[in-house]
Symmetry: C2
Subunit: 386 residues, 2 copies
Amino acid sequence: MKNFSFYNPTKVLFGKGEVDKVGKLVKEYGNTVLLVYGKSSIKRSGLYDKVVSLLEKEDIKIIDFGGIDPNPRIESIREGGDLCKKHNVDLVLAVGGGSTIDASKGIASAALYDGDPWDFYSYKVESKGALPIASILTLAATGSEMNAGTVVTNFATKDKNGWGSPFTNPKFSILDPVNTFTVSPHQTGCGIVDALTHVYEFYFSNEDAYLNDRVCEGIMKTIIHYGPKAIENPEDYTARANLMFGATLALNGVTGFAKDFEGFNHSTEHVLSAFYDIAHADGLSILAPHWMEYILSDKTVNKFYEFAVNVWGVHPNKDKMKVAKEGIKRVFTYYKSLNMPLYLTDLDITNPPLEEILDKAVKGETIGRFVALTKDDVKNILTKAL
Amino acid sequence: MKNFSFYNPTKVLFGKGEVDKVGKLVKEYGNTVLLVYGKSSIKRSGLYDKVVSLLEKEDIKIIDFGGIDPNPRIESIREGGDLCKKHNVDLVLAVGGGSTIDASKGIASAALYDGDPWDFYSYKVESKGALPIASILTLAATGSEMNAGTVVTNFATKDKNGWGSPFTNPKFSILDPVNTFTVSPHQTGCGIVDALTHVYEFYFSNEDAYLNDRVCEGIMKTIIHYGPKAIENPEDYTARANLMFGATLALNGVTGFAKDFEGFNHSTEHVLSAFYDIAHADGLSILAPHWMEYILSDKTVNKFYEFAVNVWGVHPNKDKMKVAKEGIKRVFTYYKSLNMPLYLTDLDITNPPLEEILDKAVKGETIGRFVALTKDDVKNILTKAL
């Protein structure tokens, strides 16, 4: 097991009705809050009004900042950061999914920086601080509610980049599964695939980390088990609850403590998103199964065998390759059952500028840690996924 | 899934050589440290000298406080608290196992309290603060390195009680598996049983918490897998590493987020320890298997079936009761293979004052949440375990 540091100071308040605590919790940090959210969904569901009323009850001044995009733009970070400076904001409160929380982390960091916040995302400057961040989660997917990461897109340069700092862990995050009841079947499927892919990024590795892998398997089994239930019955509290905290655990440290991030799926998908503005998880859903098929070999068969037996319940068998293939087949079948895309053409992407995409995706010689892939490999995978 | 709050601000530094960082880490909190440890083992292993030299390199003044007992005494808490006051200690550094860390939490709290620290352990007074605490762990067992709990014994009153506060989470804990190479086979067995029992306390419940249970199973499987390997080859780094962080995860929140502590095993064992000063895990090793056998019924069979199949690898079968029984049988067999005691007579306890023990163990009508047990039930279990 490799050396690691494990530290996650975000406080999670989980369950029905926990949102009621937001006013008092925010008040501990000050009297002015930047309220960050996406499109109209939280207004339709009534959550927006509820949060506003809870904050106002504590005499907290609200600077309203809606309209964060599903792939949050650097322009929003700049604008939000300026609002914080102008109004002396004390805390940035995200109400929404991963995009809104990611944006809030960027905004809270921009608030304490004089330059262009793209400097952080382009790795020119390291953030030296951030306003306190908090979140009310409405989508089980990215895990951003309990980690430091922020991913933002610059469509001008076709770059979708991520970073995190010791200052960007939310102070607290409120997770009420009821707030995910209105998430559409497709968005629910996206959340499932996103969370599973976060686990894949650690699970598929050459590190010998038994404990880490067994925890990963438990989380994947849970997400796989409850995914279809939540889609079938959107108000199944148990399913929504397991998916919600499952997605949190998928990227809060417990799936990756003794591992390095594999990288292929996220890096390549970020490039696709930056080219086509597709939903992150749609991209992941297309990439991961083809990637698995492509990298399965005598060298990787043991890991895929474990994956098949321990996660997908494939019957163990002496023919490890056969079992491994069956496991990957189940990924295809499962994603299909969630109505998630499996081919780029499912998203009407028919003739992608492969060379340009490859240049962005594979910046060094290779990409991916479990299996190092060259540009040719990535081209083969993308072609397979056409 | 029930509502919960999930918060654990302890930073873990894990792996070979991480102890080298202790000087600089302590320095962040001040210049005077109370160095708390147990008997001579850290002196024999050279760890004591190493830590002292690393602290001295940073010009940190060391107040030396050794001699903490395996069942730490309230007298040590009083004495340590007085030392902190006298020397204006800035941080309490535990070097040792769970007992030493538990004691350090009591001491750090006593340092900021004018009364008798037994007030905290007898639930008369709630602690309002504590000096910063840190630890260097030398034993994979209690999980104290990453939680707020402290358990201390008052042999005068035959009480062994525990509590925790928002101030008693260690700021940081250093976990180098190499520091557990010298742990004896019996102590290693004790650590395995202690950690497993922590998981049982959450796993065995009537709460429907699929995610929680799957994570519990991953951690139990890991501990069970590596236990015998560490005993057979004490310098097997991989085994020691998996056991070490497995024991940490067993009681740092990830095994119990959506559960309440079951309670029977720990509460009853604490009484046994307070009567006989036996090793905590020896008591747990005797109690848990008999408790499982006693509470197995049509009502609990599903949980024990899951336990048998998912943790012990018993082949699934339509006869759930048969599978459940086989699972419990494996617990007996496994503990025996670790040379852990299975009966009170194995510890030369032949004629225990049952009524007196029952009065201490069952303070209300019943004990235990998974299955509520009366005094008669507990008497039956203890008699079975004689």
